[in-house]
């Protein structure tokens, strides 16, 4: 047990360091960054914002991590967010309760995930393309539900999910931390984690070893769909309205970025959800730097690009291998796990 914790720490150390650096940067551009106080019933401060605004990405990258671990990718999550938000909104607008709305939204998310799963696992369409379909069409579906308008709602129950608080902590924060913890724990306490990694590394072998790769794949995309749906509901609740066209726009890229910053290989295999979550926070802190710096908006993208690049280079396998070579040897640290990445990219290719 203690060993497991230690292992986890060892695994997420680079991410923690980078996160610390990013927060420090915030502190430099805005000295009051770490200041938190309690205003009309809620914790109030930039740190809280980072946690709160990181929620959608964080939720997305829980599912995305699993998908990527199976050597897949899910471009549709942004669109699924929009659909789920729209569903929830239209349900409450039609006078249903917030719980019904939530369930309805999650259901649509599940359906979307299932669809992706079938395309990937059964029809054997390459994940990028398979999910591209829903990425394109999904937003349309969402707008179909809202008929192109921003569907505003006033249902307090639903709004609480996004803008409310629990014991002064914004609900969104509570949700993503709990879900993240739960999933991370679940995959490691059961054999799921290992089986998912196994099919991500070599599906042929895994099938021959008797793993039910199809069902597993479908489940993984389903989970991704559910996470996206939850994120969608939170985003909609946060602005008291479902904005079909903009909700979660391009957020899939942030989620994938978070997973990679979390040190997970896009080629599947070993994964760590916790690390991905930290990755999401890193991205959000970068956004926060941009907002607080007060630079004119035309610089946003350049700043973001440069910071992200820096981060990725720092933890790129090669660089960390050099690190590791400088520090004397130890049994199998990251480098040897990662350096041969291109390696596996290329074996067991059987089209």
């Amino acid at each position: 047990m203690a060993g497991a914790v230690q292992g986890l720490l060892k695994r997420i150390m680079p991410q923690l360091v980078i996160l610390a650096a990013a927060l420090l940067l915030n502190f430099i551009v805005f000295p009051d960054f770490f200041h938190v106080d309690f205003r009309n019933g809620r914790l109030f401060g930039n740190i809280i914002d980072v946690l709160n605004r990181g929620a959608p990405t964080a939720l997305l990258c829980i599912g995305m991590t699993l998908v990527i671990a199976t050597r897949g990718i899910d471009l549709s999550v942004g669109a699924v967010m929009a659909i789920a938000g729209a569903t929830a909104a239209s349900l409450v607008v039609d006078g249903h309760g917030w719980f019904t709305a939530l369930i309805g939204a999650l259901a649509t998310g599940a359906i979307c995930g299932f669809w992706n799963g079938i395309l990937v696992a059964v029809l054997r369409i390459q994940p990028i393309v398979a999910t591209l379909v829903l990425m394109v069409a999904g937003r349309g579906v969402a707008q179909l539900i809202t008929e192109g308008t921003i569907l505003t709602f006033l249902n307090p129950g639903l709004i609480r999910l996004g803008a409310g608080t629990i014991l002064g902590i914004p609900t969104a924060i509570v949700i993503w931390i709990c879900l993240g913890a739960f999933v991370a724990f679940a995959v490691r306490r059961t054999a799921l984690g290992m089986l998912i990694e196994s099919i991500g590394i070599n599906e042929a072998s895994s099938r021959l070893a008797g793993i039910n790769s199809r069902v597993l794949l479908v489940c993984v995309y389903l989970v991704s769909g559910l996470c996206a749906a939850l994120a969608g509901v939170i985003v909609a609740a946060d602005i008291k309205g479902a904005d079909a066209n903009n909700a979660g726009l391009w957020l899939e890229l942030d989620a994938i970025l978070a997973v990679v910053i979390g040190g997970n290989s896009l080629l599947g295999g070993r994964f760590s959800i916790v690390a991905s979550l930290i990755g999401a926070l890193i991205i959000q802190s970068v956004n926060s730097v941009i907002l607080l710096s007060g630079m004119p908006p035309e610089f946003n993208l350049v700043i973001k690009a440069i910071l992200i690049l820096g981060i990725l280079v720092i933890q790129s396998p090669k660089v960390s291998y050099i690190w590791y070579m400088l520090r004397a040897s130890g049994p199998q640290p990251q480098p040897d796990r990662k350096t041969p990445r291109p390696h596996r990219a290329t074996e067991e290719k059987t089209q």
Binding site: D32, N40, R53, T149, I150, I239, D243, N246, P297, N300
Partner: protein
């Protein structure tokens, strides 16, 4: 004879845009015009493709809501050659004006100007630190509405724009960015918010509330478009003013088109729609009821 008219719409990125589409379709229907609608998904190339297809199809006239001012000469020439009249909606293009019949637009700079003017009068000389929520970086509404607003503030040193960041014309970004403003400046040090569209303003209102301040009182809010939710907010005293950008550009446009096709009457090159200012004085409840079914 009932006409076939192609309409190349930018997309459906905002409530206002959706309303414009709805109204256009209604207008066409009333006139018994067969409207061919093409959504360009925010891409100029798609609009150009659409127009070319309209020409190939031999429609009687073309309506364009250009996504950007530049880059239309070539395709407009082709339309001219096929002598199909083109009417621009809600944005002019910088092409020789013999290439299109007329342009039905509001004056974006003017809108910003009205907003600025209102704020100047509102604060009446008192010092006021203003924060600005810009539209999508690079989009002409964002640029012009900024310019207009700044023009209005010129010479009024009591008004100062202390922070200006893009909120991408969306509610959620509006809220996020406003949150950061409130922290970076301190809510009590901000006296007014100028948002380039109502969606962002509505988002910002929520951020202000969550910060424990009273939108409309502690922080004055003026924005542009006059979408239903904005009227509602004004009615609830959470917002102070909005400048209307009418979604009904198609009415005048189609009138001009029909007249021209009927007997070649040349409309003026620019049909400006009015930029009406709505404040708490107006009966926003009523306006809301009236507008809320226009598909905003």
């Amino acid at each position: 004879a009932d006409l076939t008219i192609g309409f190349s719409q930018i997309g459906s990125e905002s409530g206002w845009r959706a309303a414009e589409t709805t109204v256009t379709k209604q207008q066409a229907e009333e006139r018994g015009i067969d409207l061919k609608f093409a959504d360009a998904q925010q891409k100029q190339e798609n609009q150009i493709k659409a127009i070319r297809s309209f020409i190939a199809q031999g429609v009687d006239g073309i309506l364009i809501a250009p996504v950007v001012a530049t880059g239309w000469d070539e395709v407009l020439e082709e339309a001219k050659d096929a002598d199909i009249p083109v009417v621009l909606m809600d944005r002019t293009v910088d092409a020789p004006d013999d290439l299109y019949l007329t342009a039905v637009t509001s004056d974006l700079v003017h809108e910003g100007n009205v907003a600025g003017q209102w704020l100047v009068d509102e604060v009446a000389g008192a010092d006021c630190r203003v924060v600005e929520l810009q539209g999508t970086t690079g989009s002409s509404p964002a640029i012009d509405r900024k310019t207009g607003f700044e023009q209005a503030l010129e010479g009024h040193d009591n008004l100062e724009i202390v922070r200006s960041q893009t909120g991408d014309f969306t509610r959620s970004q509006g809220k996020v960015v406003m949150e950061s403003f409130l922290k970076a400046e301190g809510g009590e040090n901000i006296c007014a918010l100028y948002a380039h569209n109502d969606d962002m303003a509505v988002g910002a209102i929520q951020a202000i509330k969550e910060a424990g301040l009273k939108p409309g009182e502690d922080i004055k809010i003026v924005s542009i478009d006059a979408v239903p939710d904005a009227h509602l907010a004004i009615a609830n005293g959470e917002m102070n003013a909005t400048i209307e950008l009418t979604p009904n550009m198609a009415g005048p446009a189609l009138d001009a088109m029909e007249a021209y096709l009927a007997d070649g009457t040349m409309p003026p090159k620019w049909i400006q729609t009015e930029s009406k200012l709505y404040t708490a004085e107006d009966d926003n409840k009523a306006v809301y009821e009236m507008k809320k079914d226009l598909g905003y």
